[in-house]
Symmetry: C2
């Protein structure tokens, strides 16, 4: 076997590389490695693009004014507390580039890019372990206890990637109170928040007005299944947002992304179908996976499932290779801090795809 | 009159802001402030996007492999000497972010973002004046004479924005020889090079293989009139390109930009029509402008014309306001280093638009 097939990918969703790596056409790979709305690209967006192809001849609005106004309405937050970016990842790197914090605390396992962005800005990164036996949940007391002197930013992900656990609202409120008192910035990545069963209940967006110590990361990527379009945003206090907007690459958000936000946020039919899909499929896939003796899935609270492998026959890496040969691409989760080669992550997809996954998993000899 | 109308724009092409500033719908503004191919968005690209709307559900290939291979063929340069970016501007900022040069020399007037990117990386910026009486042309002897001790990067734009002057090939060769000897990096922004009458003759791309001291900036933006899509690239030595690729924001180039490069580079019909258009309209507009007693246009070598105002009645700023009221948006060029409020810049557009510009200019009382 070619040793290239064991190359670790830092993220899921790189079907181009996976296709080369495994010698399988990307059309023939069912991608469970990227956590996206299974409804696919909204029809409303496609129509918008078709109707506005000639808009490409204009530079994008560097201030994304129209988008900021749509978001102002959607979030009930003033436009000057919002900065749009080339996906949440531009906002993440920009935030650290502007803040240049000395020390950052990150509860983990979590999305790997936080520590990459923090280190790139010169920060020292401290981790606090979210433990499997606590269901990877956040305890505010433990979190604040882990905040060493010198920590200037605490970085959370809610719901958390890859654990699919939400953090209780009261724990977040306690953590925020502590951060306010200690003049620490609490950053919460809420890029999956709209794919939970109670976005308004879990999100801290209602707390952001007048609060200088809270910053939220959001994106259109997961909710609307459009990672290829590149659209994310940050919400924070006006001074920080101004600094970020000044430092930002001009025109980093392309014209379609810049102008289509309003169309997407008003696509009520798509959003309603999303709720239905998630409610049914999250449950369905979790229950089906729970039926395998060799897998321990953790109860998902958003559109992906973390799984511990209980069989010794496969590691995350070798299972990934085995499944790719059967047309299924999964996320080897062993490169997340505090996880190991026993962990994989699976996206919740549409019923037909989920059934296909289950039937392929049944062919695996453990 | 609202004082907002005198707000200086750092760049041309912001029709969103201009539209707000002047209270004119953007559809009613003929934009001579952005220097783009007047043929507009290629039909081949539109068709490609329409046929591939569902590709947005995939993350873009972070390495833009397909694009790099198309460019390898187009430029006759190995793919590992090429890095793609969110417009040439991402490449520009990334280059400085990786190099962090102590001191940079920039012949000016030229595109403003070079010095912004250089200063943001911590560099000291030195300017060398390109003089009007020399036709804003580059003299290699003067350039190398202006290279102080400590200069690590020399940054040129060829053809130069806003002067529309190309730099003679022999002067560039001399400058490069000097840079090689002194271990200085010569960076040339060639984003307009394909909109000259001899791209192969003016470009230094044939010199780049095996040369560690040359870096070229290129883009699809101007040639294909797609500033809204965001696609540029850098060409340089493998080590520098590797460092830039590692430092780059993941997925900064969206899926359409990433995948459409090949379609565009093979659109022979569009490229041929472009040559025809440019040949005729550059000449036409220059000749027409030369007929006004109150304007001194400089002979253009690419798709825009720098003009000195000879009348005292208008400054660049007040003429911009006057013309906006008549549905024409021009570039006030007074914020370019070494220029002043006597200078404007006009894009070369299609015949109908150029005629409209001329007829509106005839109504101006000087």
């Amino acid at each position: 076997m070619d040793k290239n097939v064991f190359i670790k990918e830092p993220h899921g969703g790189n079907i181009y590389k996976a296709s080369e790596q495994f010698g399988i056409k990307k059309e023939d790979l069912l991608d469970f490695s990227a956590n996206l709305n299974a409804l696919g690209v909204p029809r409303s967006l496609k129509q918008y693009i078709i109707d506005n192809l000639d808009e490409l001849k204009n530079y994008p609005d560097p201030d994304c004014l129209q988008l900021a106004r749509s978001l102002e309405n959607y979030l009930d937050v003033p436009a000057d507390m919002i900065v749009a970016g080339n996906g949440a990842s531009e906002i993440l790197f920009l935030l650290f580039d502007v803040l240049k914090p000395k020390k950052v605390l990150i509860p983990a396992p979590t999305f790997i890019e936080y520590s990459i962005a923090a280190r790139q800005s010169g920060a020292e990164v401290k981790y606090m372990e979210l433990r499997e036996k606590d269901g990877f949940r956040l305890d505010a007391g433990k979190l604040t206890g882990a905040i060493e002197p010198g920590v200037e930013v605490v970085f959370l992900c809610n719901p958390n990637n890859p654990t699919s656990a939400t953090y209780p609202r009261n724990e977040l409120e306690q953590a925020l109170e502590y951060c306010i008192k200690k003049k620490i910035l609490l950053v919460i990545d809420e890029t999956f928040i709209e794919l939970t069963d109670d976005p308004a209940g879990y999100s801290m967006v209602s707390r952001i007005k007048g609060c200088d110590n809270l910053f939220l990361l959001r994106a259109f990527t997961k909710l609307f299944a459009i990672p290829g379009l590149r659209l994310g945003y940050g919400i924070g206090n006006e001074d920080l947002i101004t600094d970020m907007a000044e430092r930002k690459l001009p025109w980093s958000v392309n014209t379609f992304a810049c102008n289509a936000g309003d169309v997407l946020l008003k696509d009520v039919e798509y959003l309603e179908k999303t709720r239905q899909w998630l409610l049914e499929e999250k449950e369905y896939l979790f229950n089906e996976l729970s039926g395998f003796w060799w897998m321990k899935p953790f109860k998902p609270e958003t559109n992906f499932i973390l799984v511990r492998l209980l069989t010794e026959k496969y590691s995350a890496g070798s299972l990934r290779v085995e499944l790719a040969g059967k047309g299924i691409l999964i996320r080897d989760a062993s490169n997340f801090m505090f996880l190991n080669d026993r962990f994989i992550r699976l996206a919740v997809k549409d019923r037909k795809s989920n059934e296909k996954l289950i039937s392929v998993l049944r062919t695996i000899q453990c």
